[in-house]
């Protein structure tokens, strides 16, 4: 019972609070949230709503290859947005592809968040040599662009794993590569806030009653440093999706048998000169809209949580 009223309480506080108010007031943010939600739903329900199953070679007919979108003379309503060079329906492939993109984006962002929060809390709370060495590593890593680090991790994995194994594991390798290359922002922010929080009275009180260090860090300090973490996580999600798309476009990400949005654009680029622009443009629009929506959400969240800007 107690937990139910607690949830009700926090829900009340949320809907009466400033954040919900500023959300309702900003039309752009509401639209962005809707777009993001539609994307997530569509990606989640891809097997149900997609007219074709592009990942199943049995349903693909090479005779359908390179059909233009339905509103062109040669197009058919069977393939709304046309087909690619293998006869895969672009619309269905986009649905399935966004699914991979969003999954990889979320998973790698979560990985980065877990690594970053843990290292940030530990270095902020414990300090000393631990802090110095973690932050030094962070300094070194942040001076290299994340995409380069992800490329490198991916390259090593590709060298170590034989071809077929790599195609199977590509999704996980990507998640690892993108996650590891993006933890620094989380760690720095969390460390900064932890340094402030750890001298407050509630932490001292927790220490006095003999709570363990890990408990103090994760149960007491963590909830109080989550605000900025949420902002970074939202923007981090956009960055992770972007990085996945870029790596796939460069040909070191998701293999073309089960393409993500980036892979689809890579495939389509070869057919640009043949005038088959739809293989590139529609996945491109989907990717750009998705990233834009998530970015807008992140921007709004940052402003809403930062009272200085109000």
């Amino acid at each position: 019972m107690k937990s139910v009223t607690r949830i009700q309480d926090s829900l009340h506080r949320f809907f009466d609070g400033d954040i919900w108010y500023s959300f309702k007031k900003s039309k752009v943010t509401v639209v962005a949230a809707c777009v993001t939600a539609v994307f997530m739903l569509a990606a989640f329900a891809a097997p149900l709503i997609a007219p074709h199953t592009p990942f199943d070679p049995g349903t693909i007919d090479l005779m359908d290859a390179s059909t233009p979108p339905a509103w062109f003379e040669d197009g058919t309503t069977k393939f709304l947005l046309g087909t690619d060079d293998q006869g895969r329906d672009i619309f269905s492939t986009i649905l399935y592809g966004s699914r991979i993109s969003i999954f990889v984006g979320f998973a790698s962002m979560l990985l980065a968040m877990i690594i970053g929060i843990t290292l940030g809390l530990v270095s902020g709370y414990i300090g000393g040599a631990v802090e110095a060495s973690i932050m030094r590593i962070a300094d070194v890593q942040i001076s290299f662009p994340a995409i380069l680090i992800a490329l490198l991790i991916n390259g090593v994995a590709q060298t170590l794993l034989p071809g077929e194994r790599h195609d199977e594991l590509a999704v996980w390798v990507l998640i690892l590569a993108i996650g590891v290359s993006n933890w620094v922002h989380f760690a720095r922010t969390v460390r900064g806030s932890t340094l402030v929080e750890k001298n407050k009275e509630y932490v001292q009180a927790a220490r006095v009653i003999g709570r363990r260090r890990a408990t103090i860090m994760f149960r007491h300090i963590l909830p109080n440093v989550m605000g900025p973490v949420l902002v970074i996580a939202t923007i981090g999600l956009a960055i992770a999706i972007l990085t996945e798309a870029t790596l796939s476009f460069l040909g070191v990400g998701i293999p073309p048998t089960k393409p993500s949005l980036g892979t689809l654009i890579r495939i389509g680029q070869d057919f640009l000169f043949a005038g088959e622009w739809w293989i590139v443009i529609f996945p491109g629009i989907a990717l750009a809209v998705l990233i834009l929506a998530v970015n807008l959400l992140g921007d709004w969240l940052r402003d809403a949580l930062n009272p200085k800007l109000r």
Binding site: I147, L152, T246, L250
Partner: protein, 327 residues
Amino acid sequence: MIALIIRRIFQSFIVMLTVALVAFTLFRYVGDPVSQMVGQETSIADMERMREELGLNDPVIVQFARFAWNTLQGKFGISYRLGRPVNELFVERLPATLELSLIAALFSLVVGIPMGVYTGLYPDRVLSKVFQAVSLIGISLPTFLIGILLILFFGVLLGWLPTFGRGEVVQIGWWSTGLLTVSGLKAIIMPAFTLGMFQLTLIMRLIRSEMMEVLRTDYIKFARARGLTNRAVNFGHALKNTLVPVITITGLQIGSIIAFAIITETVFQWPGMGLLFLQAIQFADIPVMSTYLILIAFFFVVINLIVDILYHVVDPRLRFDKAVAAG
């Protein structure tokens, strides 16, 4: 100040050593160097002899020392895929990447700073909203998509600009430049725009937010109260104070421009270092990979060092903060 520089140089040295260690680990343990170099029908005895000749049976420390020494002398080994010395390959491709990066950086500064100042000064005007929208699109559109769209419109549909390569190049000593021929200049427009777009939005947004913050400070109000002209306040007082972070970010961004060039070079088949690196990844060409890593790390470390020192020279508050924190 001198202590700071020495400490920074020492740190840079540590970073380079770490990167060299990673590169060495790649070089030595990811894939077997000997089996990469020889054909299939080489006997095991021959391979063992080669192993001995190359010093691969020596203690790891000795091997690493040799690797570091060779790297310092510019001997980066031989590319597995192309069978040519790696440093030759990089010298050939360095000018292409540096020219592209430089033009892109210039473009982003020359266009980004005025846009940022304007949107910071007049946040409510229509043009500012347009700039803001453009910058949001610039951040959300992936670099490669911008490149592809440009190719589609100006290359395929309109046929105005070349869609791949550097055009004609002129050789000046070992440096090959595309900036002296018409076709070279035409070829660099789209890649430089693509590469500079992200930096442009970054610089614009940074200047905008810094300007808005600075304009709220007391010394700007005081300057206005003194009756200084708008121009003097906006540019003499406000813009000048926003430039410190801009210098830092721009400096650091030069490094990431060189790294992001990988993407642009792939889209436009620009014959630079990034394309070489990407091909090396796809073919597990470890010497090229580790050389690129070391080279990029070197660029970054040098730029970071310069920016750090500049930062301390320009902003006296930093020195003061350090002293307080230490005491």
